[in-house]
């Protein structure tokens, strides 16, 4: 039998060492643990459809140099932090200056804070289930540590822009850790962009730790180019009466993967996970979500929509795990899929594990095409084919796009969607 492929040792060499000692130590330790890490293959259940798109050639092992770049044309309302190739660019960033809000890049932490962070990193993630996140922990060059004191409300969204430049092949490892103390509140936008044409891998990890009553809204917009493999993981742990809301909007690439894991650990916790995925050409997008109802009296609501055109492939795997003590759990998962061509493929799998007996748990998944009768109705009013198809496709995701709480993200997503419609639909 052929031995399972393992991670090339080239990937175990971080580039820079300008991190505080506790983080350097953590990174080294995580790296050592990666020696001989088996890579996902098609026999790995959670990478069944995506392993063949995962390319970890040695040229990608090099950390891309963080040079910053000229002319960040950002007109984002609110606060922003810009990362280039995984390292913060202070001159492009605009931090909030509010009592009780500490937003610092890893490189600027003092040893005590760095030690506290090192204790926490990875503690929201089950790294057996999200194996690729382990690579981030062994490789991050910088990151953002966000701490909100109790009852602090960030008055505007915080934009975190992660841009990679593929002028040479390599990889970047963006990392965010958010500590939201009791009854604090934040809306955070992660935007993933790229330039250049050489093959690049982005391996991004974001973690959220919510104390009692904290209220966190996360918006994630993935719009990197055709040269970028994006492997992302988001871990969330929620204490009692906290609320987490996630809006993921992603456009395809050679590989897009996002693992989103939420643990509801205190009574009265609530999460709402929305996702929109659009793929075209030969793109591939894989969303794996997992919601753990650990404590009783928690609600989860999940709605994902995939749209696949041409010969693209989208995957949705939604797991809900209701633990034995999680009585009165209320979980609702819905995944609808739209195939825009006969060559496109969508695989969807709801996974429910329920060990408590007094719960409400509903799930539904559908795969369909645009309705011909609706299309005929629209064109019979003089509306052109392209516009009619666009209206119907937008109708499929409108509800989710409308719910995105940040207008600038809605606008950016809509612009990219319009390009997609122009490329996908032809006038008769």
């Amino acid at each position: 039998m052929k031995p399972a492929p393992t991670l090339s040792s080239a990937f175990l060499e971080p580039r820079g060492h300008s991190l505080p000692a506790p983080l350097l130590e953590l990174r080294k330790q995580r790296g050592t643990a990666l020696v001989d890490m088996p890579l996902p293959t098609r026999k790995t259940e959670n990478w069944k459809y995506s392993s063949r798109h995962l390319k970890l050639t040695d040229d990608l092992a090099t950390t891309l140099p963080a040079t910053g770049k000229d002319g960040y044309s950002l007109s984002l309302p609110g606060y922003r932090v810009v990362f280039h190739n995984g390292v913060m660019i202070p001159e492009a960033s605009d931090f909030p200056d509010l009592d009780g809000v500490r937003i610092q890049n890893f490189g600027d932490l003092d040893d005590d804070d760095a030690a506290a962070l090192a204790e926490r990193l990875d503690n929201t993630l089950d790294t057996r289930a999200v194996q690729m996140a382990r690579l981030n922990s062994a490789r991050f060059e910088d990151g953002l540590y966000i701490r909100l004191d109790k009852e602090v409300v960030l008055d505007q969204p915080l934009f975190i822009v992660h841009e990679v430049t593929g002028t040479a092949s390599g990889s970047a490892y963006p990392r965010i850790y958010v500590d939201a103390a009791r009854h604090s509140q934040i809306t955070l936008v992660e935007e993933y962009l790229s330039s250049g044409n050489e093959p690049v891998m982005v391996n991004a990890v974001t973690e959220y730790m919510l104390e009692d009553g904290a209220n966190v809204t996360s918006v994630r917009l993935v719009m990197e180019g055709e040269n970028v493999q994006h492997i992302g993981a988001t871990g969330v742990r929620q204490a009692a009466n906290s609320r987490f809301e996630s809006h993921c909007v992603g456009f395809g690439g050679p590989l897009r993967r996002h693992d989103l894991m939420v643990r509801l650990e205190g009574e009265g916790g609530e999460c709402k996970l929305n996702g929109v995925v659009v793929t075209q050409g030969k793109q591939h997008y894989d969303n794996h979500t997992s919601i753990e109802h650990v404590a009783a009296h928690c609600n989860s609501e999940e709605t994902y929509r995939n749209i696949a055109a041409d010969e693209s492939h989208a995957v949705f795997n939604g797991r809900i795990h209701i633990h034995e003590d999680a009585q009165k759990s209320n979980a609702n998962m819905n995944n609808k899929n739209l195939l825009l061509s006969t060559g496109a493929e969508i695989d969807t799998k709801p996974e429910l594990e329920i060990y408590a007996d007094d719960v409400k748990c509903a799930h539904g998944a559908t795969i369909g095409q645009l309705d011909r009768t609706s299309l005929f109705y629209l064109v019979s009013r003089g509306i052109g084919r392209r516009e009619a198809n666009t209206l119907l496709t937008m109708a499929f995701i409108n509800e989710l796009v409308e719910q995105i709480p940040v207008q600038a993200v809605k606008d950016a997503a809509q612009l990219r969607l319009n390009e997609f419609f122009d490329q996908t639909f032809e006038e008769a």
């Binding site: 309705d371 109705y377 019979s380 509306i383």
Partner: protein, 257 residues
């Protein structure tokens, strides 16, 4: 205006229309009556360009142009309008957005500037009053959760907005109570104009009490078997279709009115 010659059409290999001949001039109102399964709705759908139906023989011209060469949307822009028997519900597309897109597609075709949202809203509010439809319906999804009567009024509203040359009304009276029937009829009568023709397809004669046709045709077995003035509709109401040698298994017009 509309000329149909020896039209044959089939669906999934089964011939439904078996040689229709019909001439409609501008300003005229024609009614096509006939029992269920006679091909009335097929004729409407073929005129509008539904690709489910295949035209196997014959020709249709609109003001001399070959209609069969045109796509559905091109026919609409040339002035064909079909009020659907079963208007389609499209959740996620607002009625307002749908109507404005349609009106602007027509305007662009005619070389007129598009209407902006505010201009269109004003127009839509006016027209919605004409068919007694609460403007709140404009904000809802296309026909989403509308009652049968509301859907039919929305169809007539579209006709009033799009100002077609030929309006085809497919069973527009079905499922309407008497009040709704009056509202819809008022809307249709408002459409009557010198330069516009109306083709009503109906199973029952009661609509024809409100919208008086110039000509009545009886369609049976995929052919027009009898044509006449409006008195033909009254005669059909009296006597049913039997005297024409036509079976109506479902109901006679008189029994259903």
């Amino acid at each position: 205006m509309l000329s149909i010659k020896n039209l044959h059409a089939s669906v999934e290999g089964e011939e439904i229309l078996k040689g229709i001949n019909l001439e409609i001039k501008a300003g005229e109102v024609h009614a096509i009556m006939g029992p269920n399964g006679s091909g009335k709705s097929t004729l409407s759908q073929v005129l509008a360009g539904n690709e489910t139906f295949e035209v196997t023989e014959g020709e249709i011209t609109l003001n001399g142009d070959n209609l069969l060469d045109l796509e559905t949307e091109e026919r609409a822009r040339e002035g064909i309008f079909l009020a659907f028997q079963y208007p389609v519900e499209i959740p996620g597309v607002s009625n307002l957005q749908f109507l404005r897109t349609a009106v602007n597609a027509m305007r662009t075709h005619r070389g007129e500037p598009e209407m902006n949202a505010a201009e269109f809203m004003k127009l839509a509010r006016e027209v919605s009053k004409q068919v007694d439809l609460d403007p709140a319906f404009l904000k809802r999804g296309v026909n989403e959760g509308f009652s049968g009567g509301e859907k039919k009024r929305n169809e007539i509203m579209q006709a009033l907005l799009l100002q077609p040359k030929l309006a085809i009304l497919d069973e527009t009276d079905s499922g309407l109570d008497i009040d709704a029937l009056q509202v819809v009829s008022k809307g249709v009568n408002a459409l009557r104009a010198e330069d516009r023709a109306i083709l009503m397809v109906t199973h029952y004669q009661r609509l024809l009490n409100h919208i008086v046709p110039d000509y009545v045709h009886v369609l049976a077995g995929g052919k027009i078997v009898k044509s006449g003035g409006r008195e033909l509709a009254l005669e059909l109401e009296e006597r049913g279709y039997g005297w024409l040698g036509v079976k109506d298994e479902e109901a006679t017009p008189s029994a259903a009115s």
